[in-house]
Symmetry: C2
Subunit: 363 residues, 2 copies
């Protein structure tokens, strides 16, 4: 379908996936007078609560996809593991933004790294690993250490093994399911940072300020903005994110995760991975910027002009994971806290239940 | 029902009325993890798009009200003309916030004025008018001029006649339908201002900054904050709004409209009327304050603590009325404009279709 399509207020954006990201996209769409239609196999999807329409069906259900496509003026998604055939089937009927290429690249760690290398941004060195012989050879290249990661379906630290010794290497490939993998050179990075970037159908980009991200148990816990980095690093990070979005001819919002090592003029950035969607490390934009990442994504998907991503406040975003959401009354009592809950029924351990943005005047 | 009820995330707030105010309340509720159930006779209600559930039924449909009440942990409304029996029927089953008393007072201009007088705030002098003889006598008291207003169902300038001469008085009561009315003394006011105030179940109040409101064809066109008034007037206006909310033992957000005459130390405020709901002249809070009037109202209705109403930016809110909503593409292109569209299908003349908040750094 044409890449030029521009939606009108009242049109419907289809969203694959009904979790908190779909929910927050729906809320942003509604503020702009756009309707949403959520497609998700889970009958308890929190996004259903705020969508004009929803479909409960497997992503492989072609007839349900056809009905869905016919109800939407454009389609987007909240997760990168949308099955390729699903995306292609929809893309033949309705504009899918970000497009099929963004999914292909981000679904496979090997393709992603090859793309990033071709885009000219800095990444950790890597080698393909399809067998234990490959792994032995790869470890030989990287002084016996590295991070072994599945090419597909890794998230929140799942599907990866850290190798620092021969003992770690023993059975490592089996641990991740003996699937096609890559070994990344072990980077002695100090900090994880990210940039949320948006690109519209005309190629205009808006990059938000770089955030500094802290993980616990491989799950994002906080994002702090401004990050404690040099002005040059902040600018370089934004430029790298824009360069990646432009190389992909991307339409929508993308999360670009990076490793940062060194300090001051020795700061070095390496791209870790990209997420072709709104991103947890961009939730701070909701309360600290004129235009949130969710609105920015809806604008791009609608073929509309992007808003200003300028930041009016300093902010620390904290994820509320599992039963941490029970702290909501004390968060409501904090004068500068903005509480966001996702409407999920069961607070299972490790489950993202909400987040809080703590706002302070721009320093 | 108990005035103490405190909702939990995941609970449902029922909303009577499915227009843009119900819609924006629903969006705010969703951000806090609350569900909404909209009750409205209009099958094309824009709030349905963003609510977890909705009921299409007349407000007099007792069995539909019973089902609605049983699905909600608290009920609120987006308009003050909720029929009394509807409110009472619901209030016997579920907490209704703001309560039945707030509706009774604001539905009848005479009761409202008597209440405001008893609350000790300044209002324009008034006289009850039930007949042409009453009108003649009243005009005699007010030097032959005044504004004749129906006691019930007036809005956006409807149900009122300006009387400046004997000729104006001729047939004035018939013009407004020969219904019970009040004559207000004609106030030579210069400007219209308003304060949005919130009060929680524990009696704590948060008043937003005073806004200066400009009307066109009796419909609000812009609200500007900060208003061009003295600090003393700004403080007095907030204090009056808090005093009104406290006198009513009000729970929720209320709009308090005032007339302002004079300048500088001669500034004088008179209360015009109160609206027991979120208010068009408070839409600026969405983008210029930490907590919007919509979130504030949902918090109060849920029995939760209020948020900070502190303002982080200067702002001018402009209503998009009728086909003015067609300007959306140029508004999207303005770097400091925040567009809000209500998802209404037909842009009839005089219909509120959306609004735009133009933000600038706090001066």
């Amino acid at each position: 379908m044409s890449n030029e399509t521009r939606l009108l207020p009242g049109d419907t954006i289809g969203i694959l996936g009904g979790g908190q990201l779909g929910r927050m996209m729906s809320l942003a769409a509604a503020s702009l007078g756009l309707k949403t239609h959520i497609f998700c196999p889970d009958p308890n999807s929190p996004a259903f609560d705020v969508a004009t329409a929803y479909t409960i069906a497997p992503y492989e259900d072609v007839s349900a996809l056809d009905v869905f496509a016919s109800s939407c003026a454009a389609v987007t998604y909240e997760f990168e593991n949308v099955p390729g055939p699903t995306a292609s089937h929809l893309a033949a009927r309705v504009p899918v933004r970000p497009g099929v290429r963004a999914l292909e690249v981000s679904q496979d760690r090997l393709f992603e790294k090859e793309f990033l290398r071709s885009a000219g941004v800095d990444i950790a060195d890597f080698v393909t690993v399809d067998s234990n012989d490959d792994l032995t050879a790869a470890l030989g290249r990287f002084e016996g250490s590295g991070v072994l990661k599945t090419r597909r379906f890794g998230y929140d630290g799942k599907g990866q093994v850290m190798i620092r010794s021969a003992a770690d290497a023993q059975g490592a490939l089996e641990k991740i399911g003996s699937v096609p993998a890559v070994l990344e050179r072990l980077i002695p990075f100090d900090r994880e940072v990210s940039v949320i970037v948006a690109r519209d159908v005309n190629g205009h980009c808006e990059a938000y300020d770089i955030s500094e991200n802290h993980h616990e148990h491989h799950i994002l816990k906080t994002s702090t903005v401004p990050a404690n980095v040099s002005e040059a690093t902040a600018e370089k990070a934004r430029a790298m994110a824009i360069s990646i979005a432009s190389s992909l001819e991307y339409v929508g919002v993308m999360g670009v995760e990076m490793f940062l090592s060194g300090t001051g003029s020795d700061e070095t950035l390496l791209i870790n991975e990209i997420a072709p969607r709104v991103h947890n490390s961009g939730h701070w934009t909701e309360d600290a910027c004129l235009t949130s990442q969710f609105e920015q994504h809806m604008r791009a998907v609608a073929g509309w002009q992007l808003g200003s991503g300028a930041r009016h406040s300093d902010v620390v975003m904290e994820n509320l994971i599992g039963d941490e959401c029970e702290r909501w009354p004390s968060i409501l009592a904090e004068p500068n806290a903005r509480l966001h809950l996702y409407g999920k029924e069961e607070a299972r351990p490790g489950r993202k239940m909400g987040h809080v943005n703590r706002i302070s005047p721009k320093g």
